[in-house]
Amino acid sequence: MTFAGQLIFAGVCVGAVYALIALGLNLTFWATRTLNFGQGSLMMLCAVVAVMVFDGGFNIYLGLLAGVAVAGVIAAATEAIAIRPITRLTGSMGWVVTTLGVGIFLQGFVSKFFGSQALAFPSFLFSPRDYVSVLGVRLSAQYLIILVIALALVLLFELFQRRTAWGRALQAVAADQDLAAVMGIPVRLVVTLSFVASGLLAGVAGALVAQITGTVDAAFGFNLLIFGFVAAVIGGMGNTWGALLGGIFLGIMEKLVGGYVSTAAEQAIAFALLMIMLAVRPEGLLGEKEFVKV
């Protein structure tokens, strides 16, 4: 495969992970109109917990399960302590600071107890040397499985949201909490569950990325959160297909710039795209302008 082809393939795969992160942000955005900027640390935490359990002599899958569960619980706790009290003061944007604060606290906590050294993350899905031949083209098995998992989760989520009563309840809570409540929807529970789900998604995304990088440290996740955020904005905040499109677009741009210009420019390209998008089309590629109440 050509160099450009390889870059694009890698870009699509990491882009699908950005889409997962963006989806996690979308979920909490729907439920509360806020974003959990501590999600980067949840990705890190999931990977660190998985490594700890694995190093303790247990199965890596058990470790991943524990890591994802911890991420889900902490996401729900973040909502209860860092978001709910703040949004009661109507119109307050304080959640930007408090959710970021939770993230920084988790980072500090991990570097205090596990040191700031990078921990080796075990290969659980194939090894970096495994290849799959598709139509005579050799593709990295790890990248491919990450793409499949991320795509499957995005599709499942879209189905859940459109086809189930609870998915519609989430849309209802996003649109009008009082109306949802008088329709019999347990609004608090829906909000808490969406934070749990966003934590689970962050955990899965963290594990998938740690799989590629091979190591985790306390700072892991912060850049990823930024890429996920940019993906969400490019696609249109709150739009599932937009998250996927935005993530993959961003992934490809990142890898092409990294491959032809410099890997140091990968971050710059994310911010450049964010700026262009906000200037040209703030509602995102697939976003709709919000329905205004007449």
Partner: protein, 236 residues
């Protein structure tokens, strides 16, 4: 069915209702009349559980409602149609009905329940895939009312279902409410500014002013007491 005892509602320091006593009976339509800001919506929202009750008690089937949050009250058979065209505007007509039905008691299968809605309001059937936000005002009001009836409530709280509608549509909607309540024994609490219209269908009425009940009684007594012109004087 529902009994309010000395109920007060306040939003922070703004007191919207003071010491309301009220009785709502099954199979009967009880009107709540009053000018803008009299406290009609606050009363209905307090019963539904989305306005802060600061004093008094609300008894529903002889038990206090106070421990129950709004969604639990909704499942106990209390259903509120809010004022101001509140529906899920980005969802289609049928999606709105499905959502209302999904989190209700679901006594009737959805296919059958939705058919009786379309029988009552054929225009909603014709526009079942239209986004609710794209409907006309009258059609939106029909959908809001249907989102309540599809839950087969025991107590319906209707907040100004006539607002901004042509008289012909208002009578259609009021006729539907009357027929529905009589046929099923549903208790109806109807908040209205249009006292003439409301008293024509209601059995009883309460008149609110400045958050207090200033008069109540059977509809014909209220008509005799010339409540209609007194209310229009209050608008000025």
């Amino acid at each position: 069915m529902l009994e309010l005892k000395n109920v007060s509602v306040a939003y922070g320091s703004i007191r919207a209702l003071r010491g309301i006593d009220m009785v709502v009976q099954p199979g009967k339509i009880t009107a709540v009349l009053g000018a803008n800001g009299a406290g009609k919506s606050s009363l209905l929202r307090a019963i539904a559980g989305i306005a802060p009750v600061t004093e008094g008690d609300l008894l529903y089937r002889n038990a206090s409602l106070k421990p129950y949050p709004a969604h639990r009250r909704a499942r106990m058979g209390i259903s509120l149609a809010m004022e101001g065209r509140r529906l899920f505007r980005h969802m289609a007509v049928e999606e709105n009905l499905l959502l209302a039905w999904s989190f209700g008691p679901r006594r009737t299968p959805f296919a059958q329940a939705v058919r009786s809605v379309y029988d009552a309001f054929p225009i909603l059937g014709e526009r079942r895939t239209t986004k609710a936000g794209m409907l006309s005002g009258g059609q939106q009001q029909m959908l809001i009312l249907s989102s309540v009836t599809i839950r087969e409530p025991e107590l319906m709280l209707l907040d100004e279902p006539s607002l901004g509608l042509a008289p012909i549509i208002v009578s259609q909607i009021f006729d539907f409410i009357t027929a529905y309540a009589k046929a099923r024994g549903t208790a109806v609490l109807l908040a209205e500014q249009m006292a003439v219209m409301a008293l024509r269908v209601a059995d009883h009425g309460y008149v609110l002013r400045g958050g207090q009940v200033v008069m109540h009684g059977a509809s014909d007594e209220l008509v005799k007491a010339d409540i209609v012109s007194k209310l229009s004087a209050a608008y000025l």
